[in-house]
Structure formats: structure tokens, C-alpha cells
Symmetry: C2
Subunit: 251 residues, 2 copies
């Protein structure tokens, strides 16, 4: 069995713990967490003191980015494989007693929302081939998609995820606001939202683009601009419309 | 049987024709189309001359917005129920020999992509109660969700759809570009894209927001801004990040 210790008890740490529970080749021996509320399973013991940390094949640090460095300096051992689940953490310049790597699951985790881990891509990074092989084995026990990325690729993947998740969600929120101001149920848009998301699995976003900006339908664009009250939303509408028009003209 | 004539042969017209085919209470007698490529079924005859248009209970005009007025003036009859599938068409000021209404399916239709019409909301509008009832009956034969909207509501719903569909798709495209520039398969983002879309069916977009802007994680935001080459994408990143930060501070 590959022995793992998880450090942290946030959403990612808890989802990882659940995902590893079923594995026949990986066992999470300990989870380091300061809160007694951590949800455990029969295989895992909670610790809240680094003195009691066990010998393991892999340590997964899953804490907020700005807490990683402090954790790394507190680890009471050397030359072991320690990975973070961070999208952006760069170990360069940080005191390293251990072999630092990455184990980054590309998903936005919410508390209390079950997730099928097998569909979540896991991005791994390590210096030595042996460590890469171990991370690959561990990642494959919980996910169908494992990819080895460089730091620069991982940072760019995170940036791409900000557009595809955080900014998309902001678009949903503006849409929600417009519905609310006009006594329209936001649920009316659900089928469209889902279809839009599913479509880019089949055709490129460039080919999937439709709407007044794509058609350069200026009368509808002007009518829309008159409907929007919020000055920030007006700015967003104008900038995104201009961008779609410019993209269409490039083709 | 309720007799319908469809005028137009674009994506919406073709999808409507297919959707009505199974109905036991609605029959599409004719489709007006100038192109012989129109896909027909055994119940429907193609016409390309308004002289041969039959007597029907409902005429559905499904053409581009700027062609609607010309069609309306060519119709060789009076006082019949004529609806458009347009999101934004306003019959005010247009010469009206007939009873003009709306039959607007809220979806982005692509050619060659099957669609389950039953999940697509249909927005209806008409002056007389009798006409509203007929549109409701017709819409219900193909969709589970039918709603009566005013012109202003319909225009705002279309605006909300531009954010939730066209602008969301632009975010996918930028994400796709970033992946491509960094030798990352865009498919890695598919599970995140789908999860983001599905989440807002369960919790509000406001509650679903995550990411560096929401956390006001300025060091990640600055790092992202350095990664982006395209000046337009930089502008979009800055504006949307500022908006999410401002929203978070409002709470």
C-alpha cells in the first residue's frame, strides 16, 4: 500500500480523503487538521501536531496558497516527497528540505456538494522520474485523466480556468440580475446554459459563437445597451461585444 | 388538428418542423422556403410563393429580424394569427393586417445538432386571450416550459441570454486560446465547464463564485495579468476581476 498523509482540511483535502477511501493501493494514514470537525474515515487518524506525523510515501499539502511556505518549513523530516494541490505555488526560492511536487486537481470544489472525482483531471509535477511515477499511480487510482505539466503550463491552465469558471459564473450572475429586475425566473435560462457548456465539448468555441455581436446586428446591440442600467454591466457588454465582432472579422 | 404554416427555413424553422412532427394535435401543412434543400416530412409541403399559402390557424415566421417586416407586408390575407420566433421584434409601427404575436424558443440552435425541444422554454405573446390560449396549446405540445411574457420581458430575457450564452462562449474561447498557446488540451477544462454550468441550477451564481478575484488574492491576480499577452484579453481580465471584487465587497 502507498501511504499518504494529507495536510489541511479544506474542501480539496476533504474531497481527496473521500476519493482515496475506496482505493486498494493507496491509504491515507493521517490527516493534519486543527479543527476537530474534520470528517474522517476508519482508515485515517486526525493529527494536529507535526511531532506525531508518520512516515509516508507521499505528503499532500492542501491549504491556501499563502500558508504553504509556513507548512513546508515546519515539516519535521527531510528528503521525502511533498506535493501541494495549488494551481500557482512555485517552490523556487522556498527553503526545501524535501522533494517538492504538485498534485493539482482541476476543479472548483464546493462544500457539501458531492463530486465524481474520476472525471476531474489531476495535474502532476515532480523532479525525479520515480516521484512522477508514484504521483501518476496515486492520481490514477482516483481519476481517469492525469497529466504531467510544467509550472508555466499549470499557471496557464489555472488562468484558462479563471475564464472558463470564475468569469463564466460572473456572466451567469449578471444574467441572473437582469432576470430578477424583470420578474423573469432565472431557471428559464438553465437549458441554454447547459447546452452552451455541452456544445464546446463537440465543436470549438469559435465555431459555437452565435448572437447579435457575431451577426454584427447593430440595432439589437444598441437596443440591449439601452436596456442595461448598471454602468459596469454596460462596460462589460460593450467590451465583450467589441471582442466578438473583432474575432468574427478576423475569420 | 391545429393547422400551422411555417415561413422560413433556418435553424429555428427546421427544428420547429421536426418538433411538431410527432404531435397529435398540431400539423405543419406547409413550410415557405426559397431553398429546395429544406428538409421536409410526409405531412408538410414546401411552397415558395405566397399565392399558394393555405388557410391555417397559425403562421410562424422564423426568419432573420430584419426580414420580418417585408414578410408581414407580403402575406396575402388578413386578420389571422401570425407570430414571429424573434427575441426582439416589436410590431409597433409596422403595418399590421393580421394579429401579430410571439412564439420565441429560448435556445441557441445549431445546424446538424439534435435538440430535445421538450426542455426548451417557449415564450409566447399575443393580444387576445383566445390567441394566447392557442399559442399555449401549440407550445405545450413540444415543450414542458411555456411562459407568457411582455415585449419588455422578452427583450430583457434575450439580453440575459446574451450574457449566459454568447458572452459565456467568448470566455470559453479565450480559455481555449490560452490552452492552445501553452500546448494544453482544452478538453482538460470540460469537467470544470460542465460543473460550473450545472452548479447554478442548484445555488445562485452569487453563492457559486470562487477564484482569486472572489478571494481578493492579489498576488495570483497580478501573476495572471503578467501571463496574458493579448491586450484585449488583459482588459477583459481586469474589468471582470474588478467587478467580482466589487460584488464581493457589496455583500
Amino acid at each position: 500500500m502507498i501511504k499518504i498523509v494529507i495536510i489541511g482540511a479544506g474542501n480539496v483535502a476533504q474531497h481527496l480523503l473521500s476519493a482515496f477511501f475506496e482505493s486498494k493501493i493507496v491509504v491515507v494514514k493521517q490527516i493534519f487538521s486543527r479543527t476537530p470537525k474534520t470528517i474522517l474515515n476508519v482508515k485515517t487518524i486526525r493529527i494536529n501536531n507535526f511531532e506525531t506525523i508518520e512516515n509516508a510515501d507521499l505528503y499532500i499539502i492542501s491549504v491556501s496558497d499563502d500558508a504553504i511556505e509556513a507548512i513546508l518549513t515546519q515539516l519535521p523530516f527531510k528528503n521525502r516527497l511533498v506535493v501541494t494541490t495549488s494551481a500557482v505555488f512555485d517552490p523556487k526560492g522556498v527553503a526545501q528540505n524535501n522533494r517538492i511536487g504538485t498534485f493539482y486537481p482541476l476543479q472548483s470544489f464546493s462544500k457539501n456538494k458531492e463530486i465524481d472525482f474520476s472525471s476531474i483531471p489531476i495535474c502532476i509535477e515532480a523532479q525525479d522520474q520515480e516521484d512522477i511515477d508514484l504521483l501518476q499511480t496515486v492520481a490514477q487510482t482516483i481519476s481517469k485523466t492525469v497529466c504531467k505539466l510544467t509550472l508555466l503550463q499549470r499557471k496557464n491552465l489555472h488562468l484558462a480556468a479563471v475564464f472558463a469558471n470564475n468569469f463564466v459564473n460572473l456572466m451567469y450572475q449578471i444574467s441572473h440580475d437582469i432576470c430578477q429586475s424583470n420578474q423573469l425566473p432565472f431557471a428559464l435560462l438553465q437549458p441554454l446554459i447547459l447546452e452552451t457548456a455541452q456544445k464546446v465539448a463537440q465543436i470549438s468555441p469559435q465555431a459555437a459563437q452565435t448572437g447579435p455581436a457575431k451577426r454584427q446586428d447593430m440595432s439589437t446591440i444598441e437596443a440591449h445597451q439601452k436596456l442595461i442600467d448598471d454602468p459596469t454591466y454596460q462596460k462589460i457588454y460593450a467590451l465583450l461585444t467589441q471582442t466578438i465582432i473583432a474575432n468574427a472579422n478576423k475569420l
